[in-house]
Symmetry: C2
Subunit: 141 residues, 2 copies
DNA sequence: TATCGACATTTGTATATACAAATATATTTT
DNA sequence: AAAATATATTTGTATATACAAATGTCGATA
Protein backbone atom coordinates (compact mmCIF):
# COMPACT_ATOMS: atom_id res chain seq x y z
CA UNK A 1 0.00 0.00 0.00
CA UNK A 2 2.85 2.34 0.79
CA UNK A 3 4.12 4.27 -2.19
CA UNK A 4 7.67 3.96 -0.95
CA UNK A 5 7.56 0.20 -1.05
CA UNK A 6 10.10 -0.37 -3.79
CA UNK A 7 13.25 -2.41 -3.57
CA UNK A 8 15.14 0.84 -3.12
CA UNK A 9 13.21 2.24 -0.23
CA UNK A 10 15.93 1.50 2.28
CA UNK A 11 18.39 3.70 0.45
CA UNK A 12 18.94 7.27 1.56
CA UNK A 13 19.42 8.33 -2.05
CA UNK A 14 15.92 7.33 -3.03
CA UNK A 15 14.28 8.39 0.19
CA UNK A 16 15.62 11.90 0.26
CA UNK A 17 15.02 12.47 -3.43
CA UNK A 18 11.50 11.16 -3.27
CA UNK A 19 10.70 13.38 -0.31
CA UNK A 20 12.25 16.42 -1.96
CA UNK A 21 10.18 15.86 -5.11
CA UNK A 22 6.96 15.54 -3.16
CA UNK A 23 7.71 18.67 -1.19
CA UNK A 24 8.70 20.50 -4.35
CA UNK A 25 5.40 19.55 -5.90
CA UNK A 26 3.46 20.85 -2.96
CA UNK A 27 5.46 24.07 -3.05
CA UNK A 28 4.93 24.54 -6.78
CA UNK A 29 1.20 24.17 -6.25
CA UNK A 30 1.21 26.64 -3.39
CA UNK A 31 3.08 29.19 -5.48
CA UNK A 32 0.71 29.03 -8.43
CA UNK A 33 -1.26 32.00 -7.10
CA UNK A 34 1.80 34.21 -7.46
CA UNK A 35 2.53 32.67 -10.85
CA UNK A 36 6.06 31.87 -9.75
CA UNK A 37 8.03 28.70 -9.08
CA UNK A 38 9.02 28.49 -5.42
CA UNK A 39 12.70 29.17 -5.90
CA UNK A 40 11.92 32.34 -7.83
CA UNK A 41 9.46 33.41 -5.20
CA UNK A 42 11.81 32.93 -2.30
CA UNK A 43 14.58 34.73 -4.13
CA UNK A 44 12.36 37.69 -4.97
CA UNK A 45 11.16 37.88 -1.38
CA UNK A 46 14.72 37.97 -0.22
CA UNK A 47 15.57 40.75 -2.64
CA UNK A 48 12.56 42.74 -1.48
CA UNK A 49 13.64 42.45 2.12
CA UNK A 50 17.25 43.24 1.31
CA UNK A 51 17.38 45.75 -1.53
CA UNK A 52 20.71 45.63 -3.34
CA UNK A 53 21.62 42.22 -1.99
CA UNK A 54 24.44 40.56 -3.93
CA UNK A 55 24.15 37.22 -5.74
CA UNK A 56 26.85 35.67 -3.59
CA UNK A 57 24.93 36.52 -0.47
CA UNK A 58 21.73 35.13 -1.92
CA UNK A 59 23.59 31.95 -2.81
CA UNK A 60 24.78 31.61 0.74
CA UNK A 61 21.37 32.20 2.26
CA UNK A 62 19.57 29.87 -0.08
CA UNK A 63 22.30 27.25 0.11
CA UNK A 64 22.63 27.21 -3.67
CA UNK A 65 25.62 27.83 -5.89
CA UNK A 66 26.31 31.26 -7.40
CA UNK A 67 25.70 29.94 -10.89
CA UNK A 68 22.26 28.77 -9.92
CA UNK A 69 21.50 32.20 -8.49
CA UNK A 70 22.59 33.83 -11.74
CA UNK A 71 20.14 31.62 -13.60
CA UNK A 72 17.28 32.41 -11.25
CA UNK A 73 17.95 36.15 -11.42
CA UNK A 74 17.96 35.98 -15.23
CA UNK A 75 14.46 34.53 -15.17
CA UNK A 76 13.22 37.18 -12.75
CA UNK A 77 14.81 39.85 -14.90
CA UNK A 78 13.03 38.54 -17.99
CA UNK A 79 9.78 38.94 -16.10
CA UNK A 80 10.79 42.47 -15.07
CA UNK A 81 10.56 41.61 -11.40
CA UNK A 82 14.15 42.52 -10.54
CA UNK A 83 17.03 44.46 -12.01
CA UNK A 84 20.75 44.04 -11.64
CA UNK A 85 23.28 46.84 -11.46
CA UNK A 86 26.95 46.03 -11.80
CA UNK A 87 29.61 48.25 -10.24
CA UNK A 88 33.03 46.75 -10.54
CA UNK A 89 33.07 43.17 -9.49
CA UNK A 90 29.97 43.39 -7.39
CA UNK A 91 26.41 43.19 -8.56
CA UNK A 92 23.39 44.49 -6.74
CA UNK A 93 19.92 43.15 -7.19
CA UNK A 94 16.81 45.24 -6.68
CA UNK A 95 13.12 44.55 -7.05
CA UNK A 96 11.24 46.56 -9.64
CA UNK A 97 7.88 48.16 -8.78
CA UNK A 98 6.25 45.20 -10.44
CA UNK A 99 8.26 42.93 -8.18
CA UNK A 100 7.32 44.94 -5.12
CA UNK A 101 3.64 44.62 -5.91
CA UNK A 102 3.99 40.89 -5.65
CA UNK A 103 5.03 40.82 -2.03
CA UNK A 104 1.60 40.28 -0.42
CA UNK A 105 0.78 37.52 -2.84
CA UNK A 106 4.11 35.86 -2.14
CA UNK A 107 3.62 36.06 1.59
CA UNK A 108 0.29 34.37 1.07
CA UNK A 109 1.91 31.60 -0.97
CA UNK A 110 4.52 30.99 1.68
CA UNK A 111 1.83 30.86 4.30
CA UNK A 112 -0.28 28.51 2.27
CA UNK A 113 2.61 26.19 1.67
CA UNK A 114 3.46 26.05 5.33
CA UNK A 115 -0.17 25.55 6.23
CA UNK A 116 -0.51 22.69 3.76
CA UNK A 117 2.40 20.68 4.96
CA UNK A 118 1.62 21.42 8.57
CA UNK A 119 -1.87 20.07 8.02
CA UNK A 120 -0.57 16.93 6.42
CA UNK A 121 2.33 16.25 8.72
CA UNK A 122 1.26 17.92 11.94
CA UNK A 123 2.83 21.04 13.44
CA UNK A 124 5.02 19.27 15.97
CA UNK A 125 6.05 16.55 13.62
CA UNK A 126 7.00 18.84 10.77
CA UNK A 127 9.02 21.17 12.94
CA UNK A 128 10.87 18.28 14.49
CA UNK A 129 11.48 16.83 11.07
CA UNK A 130 12.85 20.06 9.66
CA UNK A 131 15.29 20.31 12.55
CA UNK A 132 16.28 16.72 12.17
CA UNK A 133 16.82 17.13 8.45
CA UNK A 134 18.92 20.23 9.02
CA UNK A 135 21.09 18.31 11.43
CA UNK A 136 21.69 15.60 8.85
CA UNK A 137 22.46 18.17 6.19
CA UNK A 138 25.02 19.79 8.45
CA UNK A 139 26.68 16.47 9.17
CA UNK A 140 26.98 15.82 5.46
CA UNK A 141 28.43 19.32 5.03
CA UNK B 1 28.63 27.79 12.30
CA UNK B 2 25.86 25.62 10.98
CA UNK B 3 25.54 25.65 7.22
CA UNK B 4 21.78 25.51 7.51
CA UNK B 5 21.63 28.76 9.44
CA UNK B 6 19.87 30.88 6.87
CA UNK B 7 16.62 32.73 7.31
CA UNK B 8 14.96 29.89 5.44
CA UNK B 9 16.15 27.02 7.53
CA UNK B 10 12.81 26.52 9.23
CA UNK B 11 11.10 25.83 5.94
CA UNK B 12 10.56 22.28 4.78
CA UNK B 13 11.14 23.34 1.19
CA UNK B 14 14.69 24.43 1.85
CA UNK B 15 15.50 21.69 4.30
CA UNK B 16 14.46 18.80 2.14
CA UNK B 17 16.05 20.23 -0.97
CA UNK B 18 19.30 21.00 0.79
CA UNK B 19 19.47 17.48 2.18
CA UNK B 20 18.65 15.91 -1.17
CA UNK B 21 21.41 17.90 -2.86
CA UNK B 22 23.98 16.88 -0.27
CA UNK B 23 22.98 13.25 -0.58
CA UNK B 24 23.00 13.48 -4.35
CA UNK B 25 26.52 14.85 -4.21
CA UNK B 26 27.70 12.04 -2.03
CA UNK B 27 26.05 9.54 -4.35
CA UNK B 28 27.59 11.07 -7.46
CA UNK B 29 30.99 10.82 -5.85
CA UNK B 30 30.43 7.22 -4.87
CA UNK B 31 29.39 6.33 -8.40
CA UNK B 32 32.43 7.87 -10.07
CA UNK B 33 34.20 4.52 -10.07
CA UNK B 34 31.54 3.05 -12.34
CA UNK B 35 31.61 6.23 -14.43
CA UNK B 36 27.86 6.58 -14.06
CA UNK B 37 25.54 9.03 -12.36
CA UNK B 38 23.61 7.34 -9.55
CA UNK B 39 20.24 7.29 -11.28
CA UNK B 40 21.76 5.60 -14.32
CA UNK B 41 23.52 3.11 -12.12
CA UNK B 42 20.45 2.14 -10.14
CA UNK B 43 18.41 1.80 -13.30
CA UNK B 44 21.00 -0.40 -14.96
CA UNK B 45 21.24 -2.56 -11.87
CA UNK B 46 17.51 -2.98 -11.92
CA UNK B 47 17.54 -3.98 -15.57
CA UNK B 48 20.29 -6.49 -14.90
CA UNK B 49 18.30 -8.09 -12.13
CA UNK B 50 15.09 -8.06 -14.16
CA UNK B 51 15.91 -8.67 -17.81
CA UNK B 52 13.19 -7.36 -20.07
CA UNK B 53 11.68 -5.13 -17.42
CA UNK B 54 9.34 -2.48 -18.82
CA UNK B 55 9.83 1.28 -18.44
CA UNK B 56 6.54 1.66 -16.59
CA UNK B 57 7.64 -0.86 -14.01
CA UNK B 58 10.98 0.84 -13.61
CA UNK B 59 9.19 4.15 -13.12
CA UNK B 60 7.08 2.63 -10.38
CA UNK B 61 10.01 1.06 -8.59
CA UNK B 62 12.17 4.13 -8.76
CA UNK B 63 9.28 6.46 -7.95
CA UNK B 64 9.96 8.51 -11.04
CA UNK B 65 7.71 9.40 -13.95
CA UNK B 66 7.71 7.37 -17.16
CA UNK B 67 9.10 10.28 -19.12
CA UNK B 68 12.07 10.50 -16.81
CA UNK B 69 12.70 6.79 -17.29
CA UNK B 70 12.63 7.23 -21.05
CA UNK B 71 15.30 9.90 -20.72
CA UNK B 72 17.49 7.75 -18.51
CA UNK B 73 17.19 4.75 -20.81
CA UNK B 74 18.17 6.92 -23.77
CA UNK B 75 21.39 7.85 -22.04
CA UNK B 76 22.16 4.24 -21.19
CA UNK B 77 21.41 3.25 -24.75
CA UNK B 78 23.83 5.85 -26.08
CA UNK B 79 26.50 4.28 -23.90
CA UNK B 80 25.54 0.84 -25.24
CA UNK B 81 24.73 -0.42 -21.77
CA UNK B 82 21.13 -1.37 -22.49
CA UNK B 83 18.90 -2.01 -25.48
CA UNK B 84 15.18 -1.58 -25.93
CA UNK B 85 12.94 -3.86 -27.93
CA UNK B 86 9.44 -2.73 -28.75
CA UNK B 87 6.64 -5.25 -29.39
CA UNK B 88 3.32 -3.56 -29.77
CA UNK B 89 2.69 -1.16 -26.98
CA UNK B 90 5.15 -2.67 -24.59
CA UNK B 91 8.85 -2.10 -24.48
CA UNK B 92 11.41 -4.37 -22.91
CA UNK B 93 14.75 -3.25 -21.64
CA UNK B 94 17.77 -5.52 -21.53
CA UNK B 95 21.35 -5.02 -20.50
CA UNK B 96 24.01 -5.48 -23.15
CA UNK B 97 27.12 -7.53 -22.42
CA UNK B 98 28.91 -4.27 -21.77
CA UNK B 99 26.20 -3.41 -19.28
CA UNK B 100 26.47 -6.81 -17.62
CA UNK B 101 30.18 -6.39 -17.11
CA UNK B 102 29.50 -3.35 -15.02
CA UNK B 103 27.54 -5.16 -12.33
CA UNK B 104 30.36 -5.81 -9.86
CA UNK B 105 31.57 -2.26 -10.11
CA UNK B 106 28.05 -0.97 -9.56
CA UNK B 107 27.54 -3.17 -6.53
CA UNK B 108 30.75 -1.72 -5.17
CA UNK B 109 29.52 1.82 -5.76
CA UNK B 110 26.26 1.12 -4.00
CA UNK B 111 28.14 -0.37 -1.11
CA UNK B 112 30.52 2.52 -0.94
CA UNK B 113 27.72 5.03 -0.94
CA UNK B 114 25.92 3.26 1.85
CA UNK B 115 29.13 2.93 3.80
CA UNK B 116 29.90 6.61 3.43
CA UNK B 117 26.63 7.88 4.70
CA UNK B 118 26.48 5.28 7.41
CA UNK B 119 29.87 6.44 8.61
CA UNK B 120 28.80 10.05 8.65
CA UNK B 121 25.35 9.61 10.11
CA UNK B 122 25.67 6.42 12.08
CA UNK B 123 24.01 3.12 11.22
CA UNK B 124 21.11 3.41 13.63
CA UNK B 125 20.51 7.04 12.91
CA UNK B 126 20.53 6.70 9.15
CA UNK B 127 18.20 3.73 9.12
CA UNK B 128 15.78 5.48 11.42
CA UNK B 129 15.98 8.57 9.27
CA UNK B 130 15.28 6.70 6.06
CA UNK B 131 12.20 5.15 7.61
CA UNK B 132 11.07 8.45 8.96
CA UNK B 133 11.55 10.13 5.60
CA UNK B 134 9.63 7.37 3.87
CA UNK B 135 6.77 7.86 6.25
CA UNK B 136 6.63 11.57 5.47
CA UNK B 137 6.81 10.89 1.76
CA UNK B 138 3.88 8.53 2.03
CA UNK B 139 1.84 11.07 3.94
CA UNK B 140 2.47 13.62 1.23
CA UNK B 141 1.47 11.04 -1.40
C1' DT C 1 -16.16 -4.45 -37.58
C1' DA C 2 -15.57 0.42 -36.74
C1' DT C 3 -15.03 3.23 -32.93
C1' DC C 4 -13.90 4.63 -28.51
C1' DG C 5 -11.41 4.44 -24.50
C1' DA C 6 -7.63 2.60 -21.72
C1' DC C 7 -2.78 1.82 -21.45
C1' DA C 8 2.41 2.32 -22.46
C1' DT C 9 5.73 5.01 -24.12
C1' DT C 10 7.89 8.98 -26.15
C1' DT C 11 8.54 13.91 -27.29
C1' DG C 12 8.47 18.92 -26.55
C1' DT C 13 9.36 22.04 -23.31
C1' DA C 14 10.27 23.64 -18.74
C1' DT C 15 12.23 24.00 -13.84
C1' DA C 16 16.05 23.09 -10.61
C1' DT C 17 20.55 22.60 -10.10
C1' DA C 18 25.78 21.87 -10.40
C1' DC C 19 30.81 22.00 -11.91
C1' DA C 20 34.39 23.85 -14.37
C1' DA C 21 36.04 27.40 -17.07
C1' DA C 22 35.87 32.15 -18.42
C1' DT C 23 35.65 36.98 -17.22
C1' DA C 24 36.39 40.83 -14.74
C1' DT C 25 37.74 43.32 -10.84
C1' DA C 26 40.12 43.99 -6.39
C1' DT C 27 43.93 43.27 -3.31
C1' DT C 28 48.30 41.89 -1.91
C1' DT C 29 53.06 40.94 -2.61
C1' DT C 30 57.43 41.69 -4.28
C1' DA D 1 53.98 49.65 -10.37
C1' DA D 2 53.92 44.83 -12.23
C1' DA D 3 52.71 40.39 -11.14
C1' DA D 4 50.37 37.16 -8.51
C1' DT D 5 46.43 36.06 -5.96
C1' DA D 6 41.84 36.36 -4.34
C1' DT D 7 36.96 37.53 -5.02
C1' DA D 8 32.44 37.95 -7.56
C1' DT D 9 29.87 36.78 -11.21
C1' DT D 10 28.65 34.71 -15.53
C1' DT D 11 28.71 31.15 -19.26
C1' DG D 12 28.95 26.56 -21.30
C1' DT D 13 27.47 22.28 -20.58
C1' DA D 14 25.52 18.57 -17.99
C1' DT D 15 22.37 15.81 -14.77
C1' DA D 16 17.78 15.15 -12.71
C1' DT D 17 13.27 15.64 -13.22
C1' DA D 18 8.25 16.83 -14.46
C1' DC D 19 3.85 17.91 -17.06
C1' DA D 20 1.20 17.95 -20.98
C1' DA D 21 0.58 16.55 -25.46
C1' DA D 22 1.52 13.24 -29.07
C1' DT D 23 1.88 8.55 -30.63
C1' DG D 24 0.89 4.04 -31.01
C1' DT D 25 -1.49 -0.15 -29.59
C1' DC D 26 -4.80 -3.13 -27.24
C1' DG D 27 -9.31 -4.37 -25.90
C1' DA D 28 -14.31 -3.64 -25.32
C1' DT D 29 -18.53 -2.26 -26.99
C1' DA D 30 -22.05 -0.54 -29.93
Amino acid sequence: MKSSSSRFNKCLYFSTNALARKVEKLAVESWKKADLPPSHGYLLTMVLENPGIQPGCIAHEMQLTPSTITRLIEKLEEKKLVIRTAEGKITNVYATPKGKELLPKMKACMGEFQKKYTEILGAEESMRMVQHINKLTDKLG
